[in-house]
Symmetry: C2
Subunit: 327 residues, 2 copies
């Protein structure tokens, strides 16, 4: 099946676009990279090469950079998308501009070409309406950097043909992803929605003086961090023993917060225009040095955890634990 998605177009050569291009090249695909912005053309080409070199530095490539470069066509012309079986849009999050880009894509590609957006801001249900053939449209949501993360969410809109989303899911296994298929378009995607439940509860515990912020952070970091990389939350239940959860679910679910307002602590920092490490005003105190240290260490950590997660993924994969009874 994934043979059918071998030639892939990417529109938008920003940081995310070029990272997705490298992920696809790494997977052996032929990529047509189109920029709708003339000024992005040279810059975009360079960015792709830089990211290929970063991937090579992480020892993620099996061929040399020029070999991958040969399977890449960079263009300013939407006509070059014509032979593509899938086109992924990763341009600026502005509805009107996306709408125009979809129109340009649809003018060129075949009727059975799948069109996807990497949007994390605009519902697929909305974007879908801008297409002549909305059934072929879906969200494909990558994590950064796309060539060194397994995460991928494929989101169906109301009008998306599920068969096509499943085709992308299957192809994504060949891109060395661990794709998750969302049958419905929900705001905030899966991980965000789960994490917002954590944030809501976490702010509640801070507000009612149960714990302080750094204390809560340490708890979550050292407890969840010790297992999440090799188990999801449901497999964790099987590991611990399901019977341990029943009673506590009954007891604690009713005690969880139902608040739906922005936590007061956020308000005051937002009033100061706080943007965290990006302007050194955040929940934690920051200075230039601590902010850049966090960024650099996180980048280095990301590489290490990717490789570590991978080794265990391979070991557990042999056992084929991907099917559940739950669903």
């Amino acid at each position: 099946m994934s043979e059918q998605l071998h030639k892939i177009g990417v529109v938008g050569l920003g940081l995310m676009g070029s990272s997705i291009i490298v992920a696809l090249l790494k997977a052996g695909c032929e990529v047509v990279a189109v920029t709708p912005l003339v000024e992005e053309f040279e810059e975009g080409k360079n960015r792709i090469i830089e990211q290929l070199q970063l991937a090579a530095g992480m020892k993620l490539l099996t061929e040399d950079v020029p070999s991958y470069r040969q399977r890449l066509q960079v263009s300013k012309d939407f006509q070059d998308l014509k032979p593509c079986q899938l086109v992924i849009e990763c341009i600026i999050e502005v509805e009107a501009i996306k709408r125009e880009v979809y129109h340009k894509i649809e003018l060129e590609v075949a009727a059975d070409c799948i069109i996807a957006s990497n949007t994390s801001a605009i519902p697929i249900n909305i974007l879908q309406r801008y297409l002549e053939r909305p059934n072929r449209f879906m969200g494909i949501h990558w994590a950064e950097p796309a060539y060194a993360t397994r995460f991928l969410e494929i989101t169906c809109g109301e009008l998306t043909e599920v068969r096509l989303a499943e085709m992308v899911q299957e192809a994504a296994l060949g891109w060395e992803k661990e794709p998750t298929l969302l049958y419905k378009d929900i705001r905030g995607f899966i991980t965000n929605r789960l994490m917002y439940a954590v944030y809501r509860q976490g702010f509640e515990l801070i507000n009612n003086n149960t714990v302080d912020m750094a204390g809560l952070d340490k708890c979550f970091q050292y407890d969840i961090g010790s297992w999440i990389t090799i188990m999801g939350i449901f497999k964790r239940m099987d590991y611990i023993g399901l019977h341990h959860y029943l009673h506590t679910f009954e007891q604690i679910f009713p005690k969880l917060t139902q608040s739906d307002v922005v936590p007061p602590i956020m308000d005051s920092i937002i009033k100061e225009n706080g943007r965290g490490i990006h302007n050194l005003i955040g929940l934690y105190p920051h200075d230039e040095q601590s902010a850049s240290s966090l960024e650099n260490n996180f980048a280095a950590f990301n590489e290490e955890i990717y490789l570590l997660a991978d080794r265990y993924r391979a070991k557990l994969k042999e056992l084929n634990l991907t099917e559940t009874n739950g669903k």
Copy 2:
């Protein structure tokens, strides 16, 4: 301050007790290990030595095993707790038995000796009432294995003197922990409460057919797993940029589930007496081989993530990012 908590008693030599004993010995403390069960005495002594050897195998010890053994006294007699400045109870989770043990401890120790429980089942507010001096009582909740995890929750009951809990918190830094102080006794501790918010929301997404269980697991595992080990959730907000959260909090908090019933999927598996990998009936399908592979791989992973987390902890620690503005 932590000098004041150098001689520590541990009551109960089960798996958790002996693991805590090794953590304290490793930190340089003198430990008096008391078992209330005669039949546990020899077995308990052997278990402590085994765990010391495991810690040595992980290269977590700076001295040889006999040196640590010299700072350990194993006893059947509560009188040997007399010189201790802190006594930690880690016996079976039965209120009546714990009550009796606290009585025996209080008969021996000095008036200013701190007494703590490793309970994860019974509220500190309840256990505290069984003491003659409830102000000196608190929860100290460890993760398994105690000598190779940073996680530690110190929980105050209503009557606990906060000053004493802070003294334990400071001492715990010397035990090479990242302790979190809970000023209030909440059911389920911090991480559990946060994770139950995730479970509640996760089951909701499965129930309404947005995603399947294995898909949700993969999302959370590969997304959260890529950063949680070096950042807590609030530091993550600073890293991403606080302004990105305000709008989505406003939008998504009202959409989060407020359900407080046990998810229907759980019911059917619980009816089958499902205990996950422990009887091979769970949310995922299991067999003997996959269950033991998960256990073995998780044990090996735990060692690796501990060392990996530690390296980044040391790097970021230099920058002293432990104070927050939030609280």
